[in-house]
Structure formats: C-alpha cells, structure tokens
C-alpha cells in the first residue's frame, strides 16, 4: 500500500450521479452528510464538478436518456475515479429490469468497483460500502 493510496483514502471526494433513480438513495446519500452520519469526518466530501471527483456514487437503474450523458460524464472524470453503485437499481436494475427505458446494467457500461445493494441502502450501509472501497484501494 503506497502513500498515494493512503492519501486518496483519507480524502475521497465523491460526485453524485443519478441515472434514473427514485430519489431514495439520493436522499440517503445526502443523509450521510448530515449530522447523524457526517461522513466529512472521514474526509469524504460531496462535490459539484466531476473534475474534482475521486469516486462517483451512482444511483438508479440506467435510463436510456441518461446512459449517453452518463458515459460522457464518466469519461470526463479524472482518473483514478471509482464507481460505487448505490442501491439495488444500479446493481441489478431492480424491478425496472423489464422497462423499455432502462437499457443496460450499470456494470455493462462502466466498470463498477463497489456495489451497495438495498432499496435504499441505509446510510450505515453506504458508509460500510465506502469503507470497503477504501479497503479495496488499500489492498491493491
């Protein structure tokens, strides 16, 4: 485990991208920042521009219209950029699997590093997921 990874794990800036979600995971992500969970104490910050992102939190089943845009957004992220699938929707497309407007699973489109299932996952689960991501970065 190099110094670079150590630094990266201590200051993970996340960008939130919703690609056709029901808002639940999005609120729970925001919940993570709020007083009860406060992920800022781990150095995790929610940022506005993809250019500053170290990780992308993806929520929602991949919508046909969002797909193209999301791929562009991912291509614009500085590397290394991790992808965290938050909620069952990006993990498995959930109950929207048969819909005409959800075309592909998330990991068919971009590489996903961590899956956090749940509808919605609790903030605790999200924090665990991010910790797992940190473990994963550290192990490499």
């Amino acid at each position: 485990m190099g110094l670079k990874e150590k630094i990266l794990t201590k200051s993970l800036w996340v960008f939130h991208a919703s690609i056709g979600s029901c808002n639940n995971c999005d609120i729970e992500i925001l919940d993570c920042i709020t007083p009860r969970f406060d992920i800022e104490r781990f150095g995790i910050q929610l940022i506005g521009s993809i250019r500053h992102a170290d990780a992308i939190l993806v929520t929602g089943s991949l919508n046909r219209k969002a797909l193209k845009r999301f791929k562009k957004v991912y291509a614009q992220a500085p590397k290394p950029c991790f992808v965290i699938a938050v909620g069952t929707c990006p993990c498995s497309r959930h109950m929207f699997k048969d819909s005409y407007n959800t075309v592909a699973a998330l990991d068919e489109v971009i590489p996903v590093d961590v899956y956090i299932p749940g509808c919605p996952p609790k903030p605790e689960a999200m924090i665990t997921g991010i910790v797992k991501l940190i473990d994963k970065i550290n192990r490499r």
């Binding site: 709020t34 407007n101 490499r140």
Partner: protein, 394 residues
C-alpha cells in the same frame, strides 16, 4: 444573427439530486427564458405496472419517488378501493393517516433543508435534516424502514402499529414543535433569507390556475386547494385542521406554507393517536373485478392522482399516474424567467420538484487476484476510459 445565450443547468448538477436539464436563456445575469428537458429519470413505470400483480404494484409505485413514497401507494390503494367499492377498517385509515402525515413532515423538513442548501445556507440544511432524523426513526419503528415504508396494501395496511409505539411517537411529535418554531422564527426574522426569497419566483394566481399547479405551490399562490379537505379520504374530514394559504406566490410564501403545514401535520398525528381505535387493519380483498377507479391523495407536493382500469385479472390494463411534480415543474417555465441565475436555483427547487415523480416513471466486493499498485490502478482506469471513448467516438 446573434447566438442564443445559454446557461445550462444539468443534467448532472448538484442543484438537484436527480438528473434534469434546464437551459436558462440569459441576458447577463437575468434569465429571460427557460427550456426544460426532462426524462433522465423515466423508467416506464406505467408500462411496467401493466405487467405486475395488483399487490406488487403497491411496491412499484412506492419506488416512483422516494420522498413521497407513501403517497403513491396510498393513492393507488384508494383507486383500487374506489374500483372495489369496499370499506376498510377504521384502524387502517388512522394508520394510513399517521404514515401520510409523518411523511409530509419528513418531506417538508427535507425540502426546507435542501432549500437552505440551495441558497448556500448549509446550517439550515444540517439543522433541518437533524430534526428530520427522529421522524425517520419513527418510520423505522412503525414500518421497519427509513424510506419505502411498504405500509399500504389494497384493503388496509400491511403492518399494525404497536400500542407501545404511540407514546414514543407522541413524544417525538411533541419534541418536534419547538424545533419547528425555531425554524419558523429563524426564517421569519432573518433579513438575508427574506431578501433571497421575497419577491422572487412569483407565480401569479392566474398562472397557477392555468398550469393547474397543486399542493403548497398552488396554496402559496392563493389557490385554496387541498385534496384532504376537498375530497376527503381516510378520516381527514373527521379531524380538525386548516388549509394554509398565502397570497404572494413567491418563494418565501412557499417556505411559510410548508412550515405552517408541518404544524398542522403534527397536530393531525396527535389527533390520530388520540382517536385511533383497536381492531382489524385490513379488509379482505379476494378478486379485483373489471372496472375503473380513481384515487387521489394530497402528497407533500400536492395532489397525486392515480387512475386504474381492471379487466378482472390480477393485473391492471392501464395504470395512469399523475404525480404532483409533473404540473409543478411546468410552473418553472413561468416563475424562472425575469429573475437572476442565482434565483433560478432556488426557484427551480421551490416547487419541491421530484423528477422521478414527474417521469414516473450486504456489500459485494470483487476481490482481484492480482495486487495492483496505485499507478497500475490509474493506468487501468485510464485505459478503461480510453476504450470507452473509442467505443463511443468521444
């Protein structure tokens, strides 16, 4: 010919949690026109509902929107019960109302926080969300979930409330009053908030009527509508409460309407807890006969209306959902132009938009065998991106 001057907002924009695309056509800081491009959240729920069991649809419509995740099932159940023409037990009605009002509290607090966030007032955000956590705890207590409560069922409710929980709920609501009063005072007294919100994003009454906006958005513009009073479902006609309206139609009015509504919700929950009888929590429903039904409830964002049509099987042949945001978001076309870009952010958020509504539409870890260093990781992900770019011709 001069080009159109556009400031894009979205689709991936921190303004809102969901993707949506606004084109602000500007002259300097002033917005002169607005184009709305939605559909980034469209999941085809109406079509999906046609292939789902009546009982499954309650879960499906719950996932239309995470914030009003009980209004949609509620409206759907009312629609089916309208079709069935059955009466459901009193206790089920009261539990439904408690859940509905708790959800309204949580949604309004959430909006209040986010509105604070959008005008850069993060303290309000944190405080409001801190006040919201006990409500989520109540949900967890009653239904076992923080979001997506899965309480509604055709013919009643899915879970009963325990007697012990009444006291806890009562206590939580009681403790909420001072917090709400704090917010009310903070917002009514703060001159800076008032300069940011007063006289901004005004929705005039005639526009409100023409666009047919609903909920707090309409009530802030002086349109006195509330489904709970006009077309009472459950036992809203048996409880004492009032409909809050403001005349101004600006963002400040919307804030005030929502804050005052929270007091009403608290009082409604307390009344429900006083009146709730013992008894069954669901009526037996065996078959859905052919027919059609309409159910509507007052979601936190306004009137939520579901239309269903059955052919006698265990799936609907048409399920139409009109979420409140669908009409409320359209009101942005009127409210945003004429103000500045800074105002656009809060104005767009002021209707409490919910694009997922509008468009109805244990951690796994891949353990790699190969140990990669950070540089390899970077290389790998750059390579991935390159491949992607090649694939899509970027």
């Amino acid at each position: 010919m001069s080009k159109r001057k556009i400031v894009p907002i979205g689709p991936y924009h921190p303004l809102q949690e969901e993707p949506e695309f606004f084109k602000l056509i500007v002259e300097g800081e002033r917005v002169v026109d607005l184009e709305v491009d939605i559909g980034y959240n469209h999941r085809g729920i109406e079509k999906l509902a046609e292939a789902k069991h009546w009982d499954q649809i309650t879960f499906l419509v719950e996932r239309i929107c995470g914030i009003c995740s009980t209004s949609h099932p509620f409206a759907y159940c009312l629609a089916v019960e309208d079709l069935l023409k059955i009466d459901i037990p009193e206790r089920a009605h009261y539990i439904r109302m408690i859940i509905d009002e708790l959800q309204r509290l949580h949604s309004h607090l959430l909006w209040l926080g986010l509105a604070g966030h959008f005008i850069g007032y993060n303290t309000i955000w944190m405080w409001a969300w801190k006040a919201r956590e006990p409500i989520l705890d109540m949900f967890e207590l009653i239904s076992g979930n923080r979001q997506n409560y899965a309480m509604m069922k055709i013919g009643g409710v899915r879970r009963d409330m325990k007697k012990e929980d009444y006291q806890v709920l009562r206590k939580t609501i009681k403790e909420l009053y001072p917090t709400l009063q704090l917010f009310q005072k903070a917002i009514e007294d703060d001159p800076v908030i008032q300069t940011r919100t007063k006289g901004v994003g005004i929705l005039k009454k005639e526009d409100a009527l023409s666009i047919a906006v609903v909920g707090p958005t309409a009530r802030a513009s002086g349109v006195n509508i509330d489904v709970r009073r006009d077309d009472p479902y459950a036992f809203y006609d048996k409880l004492h409460w009032s409909v809050i309206t403001c005349r101004e139609g600006d963002i400040y009015a919307k804030v005030i309407v929502r804050i005052l509504e929270m007091f009403e919700s608290c009082s409604l929950i307390e009344q429900c807890l006083d009146k709730i009888p013992d008894g069954a929590i669901e009526a037996e429903v065996r078959d859905i006969p052919p027919g059609e039904g309409i159910g509507r409830v007052e979601a936190p964002r306004g009137e939520c209306i579901h239309y269903i049509r059955s052919d006698g099987t265990n799936r609907p042949i048409r399920h139409k959902i009109r979420a409140p945001s669908f009409v409320n978001v359209a009101s942005n076309l009127v409210t945003v132009p004429g103000y500045t870009i800074s105002d656009a952010a809060i104005t767009l958020a002021a209707v409490d938009p919910c694009y997922c509504c509008t468009e109805r539409s244990a951690v796994f870890l891949k353990t790699g065998e190969k140990i990669l260093t950070g540089d390899d990781l970077i290389k790998l992900s750059i390579q991935k991106t390159e491949n992607l770019k090649k694939d899509y011709g970027l």
